[in-house]
Symmetry: C2
Subunit: 673 residues, 2 copies
């Protein structure tokens, strides 16, 4: 891989490009929408394996396609603008001017360079006089009311013919289209992605599903575009896809799809720069992040975000209250609906795909946190709590929730309803404050659905293992199966420096129980701002947790990669083991620390046991042996297991010492003799 360094001024971000080891990016075309090209990463195996390449989910974007020239100064290709425009119902407009406070008043040498290219934003056409709120009279022949109802299982409209140009007037969000029976390009795109390169059902797919325990999730053997549409119409899944994030490669978040992971990046008032953050974003998706949240605070928030979105093929989420707070000088009491509203528009126009909105932190709940061990630990939650206390007023996020919905709908920004009262310690898990907020999030979910806005729900936090399923079940019940998006949860408080692991345990479990996306935790959690290495460690940890959840849920294709890697392990195809792993570089590096010689890459043993003790090798004997057993011999074995042992022939004695490599020859090659 190469560090891509454009020939321009000092502050231009540099990012990592190039294929992953033994990997090719292939593109799969759509059946309904012939022009979509869905990336799949194929990992080639050694010819001796005699196996086809293993297809894996590929969120890495154009950065791993050697055929695409990367220019961070220009951003990625804006293909999705055409998709949005051809559906109609949108207008291009001048957009809001960038104001000094958008960058925290930074000026002179403290002001980071703006992204060089300016795009005019799109938004939904204003509602025509004949239509309902936000719905044009030229829309499809379904009632406005039907679209505004909360989705419920089974209520989705049947699939309709493809929309004609301009038909989309009055329909804007993926939820709108799904309810109207329209399969968008985004929907077919994610259907293809979710099938991991499969063109049709696996022969044994039903069996695989049956082998998992899905706790009510229902992952089909093969994901069709129509299934995607139904899941979105029911509110059980979302495709976060702001119409202004034209660089996006769509992805889906829902319980009946692959478990996804999010990586948080973002500078703070104290540390980090734009260049570092753009690099971290590309680095995070290289290792598997499905979405990225930009949690920047301090100065230059606007410019940082613009560089990130323009270069991001994955959905970008933000917490708009952070920037709103910067605009009022960091004084929570000085926040107002007007400042917040202006910030939403700013970010909608930039192309943020989902907003964390802590609208469930209501004044009446705040005193419920007073006796907690760690009070309120969510930044957004504590800001709103402080505002509510200072004014002794209900949160403006709650009182203005419908207006927020209408603004977000006009750009198809999805809600990530924030868990501002999540527990920050084992002691506070599943308490009344947390669950009161969750109940309110359920209420808000139905309002947002009524407005045609896609919704997911954020969850904790710190939860001991025995309380995780209770939390998941309550979320499903209160929020009508809207996707759950959890931070960890951390299963103990006593391991700072290892909270990617304390939380990876909880993440794997809650992913199994039904969480649709897991927000990563890095080793620096509670201690400092994650650097590049921490981002990678966090992403890989969460990829493995999400994958463990997919396996346990019985996802029909998840185990293919495990099986391929295990076969490579059994056959001592070291290169294939490295290449099939989530982090080929680290796997290879660890192997080489003990047995660095190239010859050992084909050695039929490893340094764990040395050549004489290799159990994998011995197992080959077993296979040969069992393969040679006749029916009578098998019966003898049955008898033996019942009657105890007696002498039999010695005809198996020939399976002897020829199987072993010469230990001394190996040690010599390794310099040990």
């Amino acid at each position: 891989m190469n560090k891509h360094v454009p020939q321009s001024e000092f502050k231009t971000p540099t990012v990592t490009t190039g294929s992953l080891p033994a990997s090719r990016k292939v593109y799969v075309a759509g059946d309904i929408h012939k022009d979509i090209r869905v990336p799949v990463r194929e990992i080639d195996l050694h010819p001796s394996a005699n196996e086809p390449p293993i297809p894996v989910y590929d969120p890495t974007g154009p950065y791993t396609d050697p055929a695409i020239a990367i220019d961070v100064e220009n951003g990625l290709a804006r293909s999705r603008t055409a998709w949005v425009k051809e559906r109609g119902g949108v207008e291009e407009y001048e957009g809001r001017d960038v104001k000094p406070e958008d960058n925290g008043g930074a000026a002179g040498k403290h002001l980071a360079r703006a992204f060089p290219v300016k795009n005019r934003p799109l938004r939904a056409l204003p509602p025509s006089p004949a239509g309902g709120r936000g719905v044009g009279g030229e829309g499809p022949s379904i009632t406005a009311g039907a679209r505004f109802d909360a989705p419920s299982p089974g209520s989705a409209a049947p699939r309709r013919p493809l929309p004609q140009a301009g038909e989309g007037r009055g329909l804007l969000t993926q939820l709108d289209f799904a309810r109207a029976g329209v399969i968008t390009k985004e929907m077919e795109y994610v259907a293809i992605r979710e099938n991991l390169g499969r063109k049709k059902k696996l022969l044994n797919a039903e069996q695989t599903v049956a082998m998992g325990e899905s706790f009510g999730a229902a992952i089909p053997a093969f994901i069709t575009p129509e299934f995607v549409r139904e899941e979105i119409a029911k509110g059980r899944a979302i495709i976060p896809s702001n119409i202004n994030h034209a660089e996006l490669e769509p992805m889906i978040i829902g319980r009946n799809f692959l478990v996804k992971i999010n990586a948080n990046i973002g500078n703070s008032a104290v540390a980090s720069s734009i260049a570092e953050e753009v690099d971290k974003m590309v680095w995070a998706i290289r290792w598997g992040a499905d979405t990225v949240m930009d949690l920047s605070t301090g100065r230059n928030i606007h410019n940082t975000r613009e560089w990130i979105i323009r270069n991001s093929p994955v959905p970008i989420g933000t917490v708009p209250i952070y920037q709103a707070l910067e605009k009022v000088g960091g004084i929570a009491e000085d926040l107002s609906w007007e400042v917040y509203r202006d910030t939403l528009i700013e970010q909608c126009e930039q192309g943020v795909d989902y907003f964390t909105v802590h609208a469930g932190v209501r004044l009446p709940y705040i005193h419920l946190t007073a006796n907690r061990v760690t009070g309120i630990v969510s930044r957004g939650g504590s800001i709103m709590a402080k505002w509510c206390l200072a004014h002794h007023k209900e949160s403006f996020l709650y009182t203005h929730f419908e207006e927020i919905c209408e603004m977000m709908r006009a750009y198809d920004v999805s809600f990530s309803l924030g868990d501002g009262l999540r527990p920050g310690s084992i002691a506070d898990a599943n308490d009344r404050a947390q669950f009161a907020e969750l109940e309110t999030l359920g209420e808000l979910t139905k309002i947002a659905w009524g407005k045609g806005v896609q919704v997911m729900i954020e969850g904790p936090g710190h939860v001991p293992m025995h309380k995780i399923k209770i939390n998941m079940d309550k979320q499903l019940k209160e929020c009508g199966e809207a996707p759950f998006y959890t931070l960890g949860p951390l299963t103990t408080d006593i391991a700072p420096g290892y909270d990617h692991i304390t939380s990876g345990i909880g993440a794997a479990m809650i992913g199994w129980f039904g969480t649709a996306m897991l927000c990563y935790v890095t080793p620096k959690e509670h201690l400092g701002l994650p650097d590049r290495d921490d981002v990678k460690t966090g992403v890989i940890t969460y990829k493995l947790a999400a994958h463990a959840a997919d396996l346990a849920k019985g996802h029909p294709a998840a185990q293919l990669r495990d099986d391929a890697l295990s076969r490579a392990r059994f056959e001592f195809r070291w290169e294939d083991q490295f290449n099939l792993s989530l982090d080929p570089e680290t796997a290879r590096d660890f192997h080489d620390q003990t047995l660095p010689k190239e010859a050992h890459k084909t050695a039929h043993f490893c340094s764990m046991c040395g050549p004489k003790f290799c159990s994998m090798k011995i197992t080959q004997d077993v296979r040969d042996y069992a393969g040679g057993l006749g029916d009578n011999e098998k019966k003898d074995l049955e008898r033996l297991s019942k009657e105890g042992m007696s002498e039999m022939s010695a005809k198996y004695r020939e399976m002897g010492s020829a199987l072993y490599l010469e230990a001394d020859a190996v040690k010599k090659a390794n310099g040990a003799l």
Copy 2:
């Protein structure tokens, strides 16, 4: 901490000594046995916390007691010899001579230096003519038959008065004494350890227990010596404690006690040395390993083990078949009962506390592995499978099992019945081969119990999350609640380099479900031999997994440390956060990477959010606010939550900006301006 370097020749192992940060080792005396001194580590908190020190379990041995001089050439003090002798029933004898094959025939410069001190071993007195097998006629007045029966719940003899000198004739193992109603020094020692410094029941202990989900485990609010005795008598717990491991600080393994962890060390034919292995042992217990297995292969096995045991305060486990195989030149077919028997005696005399014996790998089961993805992955299992195949005979470990029991009983070596057919991949989990062996292990458990030998059962391996509980439940059923001791399990195969995490997930879960001890997995699993850093990472990962399990089971004292750390976090006592964590060095290092200045150790914010956004700080407002609420105001809040918001007074406005530190002042101190 200091690296202790004795003034002697080059090859003397050096080990890490010195207190852990802010920690003191205190000793608690026994009530029944006044002369036992049980170590507890107390972590002192900052005076501003106004909290007593937090007591934590301390497996670190004398290495963290500054009052004890460490001399690796002499080994640790052999206090337990007196305990064993005063119980009687043992004899000192000359012991077996070390033979060249014990060290793999190593000679000259390849022969590692022998441990400088030689001790005469102890063993059970031979059975007197009047008694039953292994039971002297002068034993306590219970029938021999009662002692040889398999333990069953409720069948334990009532507690008896303390044994008189010499009364122990005919009683040797902890299981013997427990059944006879005798509370040994080891039993009282572990009872005190398990209470984590508590002298009596916590006031809220019952409530805490009730809050967990223990799946049938029954951890009492306070552990008494009598409870320990009962659990051992029932076979539900073991104290691995070879009478020749006189350096041992006893510990207990059982479902109704704290979840323990084991660290594997040991050189291989290809890499590592004695000095490294002794250092790794001390290093592993410094970070929390409760037992250590020496899995050395290749040359110098005898001498390596002697250095390790003589310097180990924790139980040492081995897999004797590894050494037996070395003695026959690495040719599995050449193994014999005689060679194995001789190896057992050698290791019994040295003081190994538990033996992994793969006696469940029976000839009739071997063909069951033929269609597996990864066949047989246990080294011991594959060696025995190869022997069985080559001779087409039942395993000599199975056919000689009673003799093995009698030998182990004479030294009180515990069984760790090996899972030689454990799954090595997700695909092979919970298959017929694995469960057939587990059923045989249940049968062998009852035989061992009948001989008075303590038993635990080894478990897998690679198991997806949804199959973990099935495995745990089957173990409890088949093996009569004998303690389960599992390797991980790994919950996916696709993350080599991160298998401490893929397995930490499974370990936390199976620990919660009832596993008594978790065998660690290091980041090098499947790739190479773990070095010192890997050992530490593996130990910390498994400590946090075991602790997460203790929390979920509702252990009455487990959450004290989480709560103390969370309070420190909430109050920005950074030093206390570091000191209370499992790895204070890493926590401090990570913090200092972003905010290195000493002043920031008392700063009321961290680099994650910077000073303006600190949610912990804001929560202080909430607490002040709620504390000031009268009953009427609380009623107002109730009303608000039902009726929506109306204006109220502005009297809370004074809770303002004075709470925040100056962001610029901080950035200046940090060199950012």
